[in-house]
Each structure stands twice: as structure tokens, then as C-alpha cells.
């Protein structure tokens, strides 16, 4: 059985039928990492011994005749913002260069209970702040389709790992587009769940009302499998939505005849690269040919999403990152004068520029005299943005647009102008503000680079997203194209 790029759902069958072993699969992935990662830099920490021991355990259980849960033995890469017990977790920051979590995130408990095999912790923008992986405190990652270009961010490493065959599946996190945008740039599938669908316990917090962990995969069925593995109510996360989650794999291989698709005009106009527009127009034609009913819709408050996000997210971040003080973990400056000096120097030396910028922006937005005009105003605008979606979903089942305004940009192109970098999040950010789910699927290519189509749905409407995404994927096959490596 050829292992490279074989989907998880096929690998599972191979493992159960003993055509392949988990050890063999793990070794193949580790060899691929050895071969490619020096160039691509998708990983901060590779965990070969741990992975091989986990794979060995799966093989032992198969040999003993046990029936294993879905995804047992499947190699997975985990974004380094998710706490893994006993395994260094840096959030791509120097301030956590030596932090070894004493506990597992809930999503880690869940995937380990499934017998998944963790091959390593992936590179990212520091503390999930960024859209290019250039803000990593360690080194940037490269887009496997063109290594002069960014993979996107902040879950750059996770998207690269899957796109390059250095993991079968990956976990990322998404606060303003950080799963969907790198998935789009790297030609893979990435899904941001509804806020509250997946536990945030053990996810190092950036913006607590926006963050979600989600799956990154080479195809929609694998994405559904991983989502099913990680979703669920968690009593350890007080923002976790109560109730049962559906079996997301039931959304695969379904018809989309009669499905009502809204295309927000604000995401299809000015600011969207014509090549990307062309690919999405083509994709919409495919959906129409499958029986979907497609109409234009308006989300009138779209243009206010970025300013609202960069006030809300940075305000929440300034609070969440106050804990990095050198007291009980992480980097502490040597020979500090007094305690305040310790805080100042440890934070200033440990944090990168983008993190400092966002902390200051957030602190300002919350400070006395400015709270009403900035933070509170942004929260009210957030209500208006959410209401736009609520209204749209009264008429439409899903909303579709490009995931990103352009294909992957060149390294260094946007680093000197933070506002330009922020503006590239225009199509993804609203979903986080409204708390709704969104998926990016490979929709084609422009100038040889992948273009992602974003499908957004009602709260807890991941089933609809997967249904449309799967139908589209099966009708087109873009996900089968691979970068030349």
C-alpha cells in the first residue's frame, strides 16, 4: 500500500486489514519529516520516540485482536499552542522556550485515547498572532507550493505538514482565520468549528471569545473524522457548549440539490484578486451543477469587521498575556532588580514585536478614557456583524466566498506594514466575531498556487459545511494535486 498522501480513512482500513502496520506508517511519516523539514520548517519539536512508542502500542492492540477506534495509528501534527503533557509547548515564543506542560489539553486526551500518533508540535505565528508564520519566535515556515512564499498563519506549520505529507492530519487553532487561511494557501482542508464546539482547555489563550481548535486534513472525509474525535462538551472549559455533537461523518456523500447558497457581495468585489475570483466563480458553477441554488446576499457590516476584531482580539490578548511574567514558568531575565523590573525585562525580551504591538493596542483600547470609544464600541459593532449573519441564515443554508483575497504572498511582503497584513484577514475574521463555523476547501489554482473556497454555516452547522465541501470535492478532485517536493 502506498503510504504517502493516502487519506486517513483509507489508512484505517489498511491497518485493520493488517496490510500495513502503525509502526510502518509512523516511520514513513518520520522519514518524510527528515527529508523535507529542514527546508519547510513546519515543526518546532519533532517527537519520534513518542510517536514510535504510540504506534507500537497500536500495533500490539491490533495483534491482540482488539477493535480499535477510528483514527488509531494515524500520524498527527499538533500546533504548538496546544498543551501536550511532558512535551515542550512554546507557542512559537521565546518566552515559553522551556515550558513543558504538566497536563494535556482536552483535545490531546481525546486524540490520545483514540490511539493517534503524535509526530510533533508545529510552527506558528507567536501566540497565534499573525497570518504568515513570519512572526514565529524561532524561524519562518515555507509554503510547499513555492518556498519563497508564506504558508499563511497562524497555523502555518500544521497546514505545511499536511500539504507536504509530513503528517496525515493536523490540529490548528483559529481566532481570525488561522486555520482557514493557511489551509487555503497550502491547498488543504481546514475547518474552524462553531465557538464552543471544541474544548479550549489546554489551548493557550489568545482571544478567549474567538479562539477555537480545529482539524486540518488533506480531504473532507478526514477532516470530518478528526472533527468528530475532538468535538464535545468539556466540563473543564466553562465556555464549552453543552449538548451532544453529531457524527460529522454522516454529512459525507450527501446530495446538495436544493441547498440555498448565499454569496456575500462584500467578499467578492474590490480587494479580491481577479485570479481568485475566477476560481471561486468556477467553483460556484460546479455547486450549481450539483443542484445548489446560488444567490448574492449582502452582509452590510463586513467592512467594520477588521477594525472591530483588532480591538476585541487585542484587548482580550492583553489580558490573557498578562500571565507571562517570569514568576512560575517560562523565561525569566537573569538578575532582575525588583519584581516590576523582572516583569518588564522578561516580557520585553521574551515577546516578539507583533505580540508587543497587539498587547499595547489592546491595553490602550481597554484603558481609562478609551474603553468606551474603542473596546465597548467594537463589542456593539460585533452585535451588528452577528445580526448580519443571523439574517442571512434565515434565507440561506450556507454562505460561500473566497477564503483569502489572494493566493500566498511572498515572504517579507507584508512584514513592515502591520495594517496591510491585518487587511488580508477580511474574509475570515467575521466568522470568529459571530462564532459561526467555517471551512476552507481547495477550489483550484491561480498562477500555480492553491485557492481555497470558504463555506460558512449556522452555529453548530458543521454538518452543512461538510456536506457541501464533500460534494464539491468529489466533483472536482483539486485536493489530489500535490506540491512538487
Amino acid at each position: 500500500m502506498d503510504l504517502l498522501y493516502t487519506p486517513a480513512h483509507e489508512l484505517q482500513r489498511g491497518l485493520a486489514a493488517r496490510q500495513i502496520s502503525a509502526g510502518e506508517l509512523c516511520r514513513a511519516v518520520l522519514a518524510r519529516i527528515d527529508k523535507l523539514d529542514e527546508k519547510l520548517r513546519a515543526f518546532i519539536t519533532v517527537t519520534p520516540e513518542l510517536a514510535l512508542s504510540q504506534a507500537g502500542e497500536v500495533d500490539r492492540r491490533i495483534a491482540a485482536g482488539e477493535e480499535l477506534p477510528p483514527l488509531a495509528g494515524i500520524p498527527v501534527a499538533v500546533k504548538d499552542v496546544i498543551c501536550t503533557r511532558g512535551v515542550r509547548t512554546t507557542c512559537a515564543s521565546r518566552i515559553l522556550h522551556n515550558f513543558v506542560p504538566p497536563y494535556n489539553a482536552t483535545v490531546m486526551e481525546k486524540i490520545m485515547a483514540r490511539g493517534m500518533v503524535m509526530v510533533g508540535k508545529t510552527n506558528m505565528d507567536e501566540f497565534a498572532m499573525g497570518s504568515s508564520n513570519e512572526n514565529s519566535g524561532y524561524y519562518p515556515a515555507s509554503n510547499p507550493w513555492d518556498t519563497q512564499r508564506v504558508p499563511g498563519g497562524s497555523s502555518g506549520g500544521s497546514a505545511v505538514a499536511v500539504a507536504a505529507g509530513m503528517a496525515v492530519l493536523a490540529l490548528g487553532s483559529d481566532t481570525g482565520g488561522s486555520i482557514r487561511q493557511p489551509a487555503s494557501f497550502c491547498g488543504v482542508v481546514g475547518l474552524k468549528p462553531t465557538y464552543g464546539a471544541v474544548s479550549r482547555y489546554g489551548l493557550v489563550a489568545y482571544a478567549s471569545s474567538l479562539d477555537q481548535i480545529g482539524p486540518i486534513a488533506g480531504n473532507v472525509a478526514d477532516c470530518a473524522l478528526l472533527l468528530s474525535a475532538i468535538a464535545g462538551y468539556d466540563p473543564l472549559d466553562s465556555t464549552s457548549a453543552p449538548g451532544e455533537r453529531p457524527d460529522y461523518t454522516k454529512s459525507l456523500n450527501q446530495e446538495i440539490r436544493g441547498l440555498k447558497v448565499g454569496v456575500p457581495r462584500e467578499y467578492m468585489g474590490e480587494g479580491i484578486d481577479p485570479g481568485v475570483r475566477g476560481v471561486i466563480d468556477g467553483a460556484l458553477k460546479v455547486l450549481a451543477s450539483l443542484g445548489a441554488e446560488i444567490e448574492e446576499v449582502s452582509l452590510p457590516h463586513s467592512k467594520y469587521a477588521i477594525p472591530a476584531y483588532y480591538l476585541i482580539a487585542t484587548a482580550e490578548a492583553s489580558s490573557n498575556l498578562a500571565r507571562y511574567d517570569g514568576v512560575s514558568y517560562g523565561y525569566r531575565v537573569e538578575d532582575p532588580g525588583d519584581v516590576v523590573d523582572m516583569y518588564m525585562k522578561s516580557r520585553s525580551r521574551g515577546f516578539g514585536a507583533e505580540v508587543k504591538r497587539r498587547i499595547m493596542l489592546g491595553t490602550f483600547a481597554l484603558s481609562a478614557g478609551y474603553y468606551d470609544a474603542y473596546y465597548l464600541k467594537a463589542l456593539k459593532v460585533r452585535t451588528l456583524i452577528k445580526q448580519d449573519f443571523d439574517r442571512a441564515f434565515e434565507k440561506y443554508d450556507v454562505l460561500i466566498c473566497p477564503t483569502t483575497p489572494s493566493t500566498a504572498f511572498r515572504k517579507g511582503e507584508k512584514v513592515d506594514d502591520p495594517l496591510q497584513m491585518y487587511l488580508s484577514d477580511i474574509t475570515t475574521i467575521s466568522a470568529n466575531l459571530a462564532g459561526i463555523p467555517g471551512i476552507s476547501v481547495p477550489a483550484g489554482f491561480s498562477g500555480g498556487l492553491p485557492v481555497g473556497m470558504q463555506i460558512m454555516g449556522r452555529p453548530f452547522g458543521e454538518g452543512d459545511l461538510l456536506r457541501v465541501a464533500h460534494a464539491f470535492e468529489q466533483a472536482t478532485g483539486h485536493h489530489k494535486r500535490r506540491p512538487e517536493l
Partner: protein, 92 residues
């Protein structure tokens, strides 16, 4: 034109910046805040703020001692410790 007291904000953020950094950050933050001025176009007088998208309130659990992280594990990343205390420089 928005003026930001960068020194004040840096102090609140517990960040120490060089003069050069202060200048760069001040300029960048000013540009972002000016862009954020777009929000003033909207009349939000009667719009309630959304701090959180889910209708969850006061999520509590029973006040009962359950399994907890052993102290040694909680201390294992300590930069400096003295027994069961995280050791820090003097406060005053």
C-alpha cells in the same frame, strides 16, 4: 489625529521599549487606531455589546475537592523556587 501616550501604555503592559521601538510602535498603533475610527460611522446607541457569542451564564460546578495537579508538577517549570514557593525578587 490620535495621540497615544506610549510610555503610559508600555508601563500598563509591563513592557520596556527602546526609544526607537517607541517611535515605531507609536506610528503603527496610531495608523491602526485611525483605521479603527471607521467604527464611528455606525450608530450603536441602542445596540447591546456582544462580549461572548454563546448564551452561557455563570457556569459553575459543585464546590467539591476533586483530582488536582500535584504541587510538584505545578512547580516543575519554576525559574526559581524555595520549597513550595516560587521565589521572586523583592517587591518593595
Amino acid at each position: 489625529m490620535i495621540t497615544i501616550d506610549v510610555d503610559h501604555v508600555a508601563l500598563l503592559s509591563r513592557l520596556e521599549l527602546t526609544a526607537e521601538e517607541k517611535k515605531i510602535y507609536a506610528g503603527q498603533i496610531r495608523a491602526i487606531l485611525e483605521y479603527a475610527g471607521l467604527l464611528e460611522e455606525l450608530d450603536t446607541e441602542n445596540v447591546p455589546p456582544t462580549a461572548h457569542v454563546l448564551p452561557l451564564r455563570n457556569v459553575f460546578r459543585e464546590d467539591r475537592v476533586e483530582d488536582h495537579l500535584p504541587l510538584e508538577k505545578a512547580m516543575q517549570n519554576a525559574p526559581d523556587r524555595d520549597g513550595n514557593y516560587f521565589k521572586v525578587p523583592r517587591l518593595v
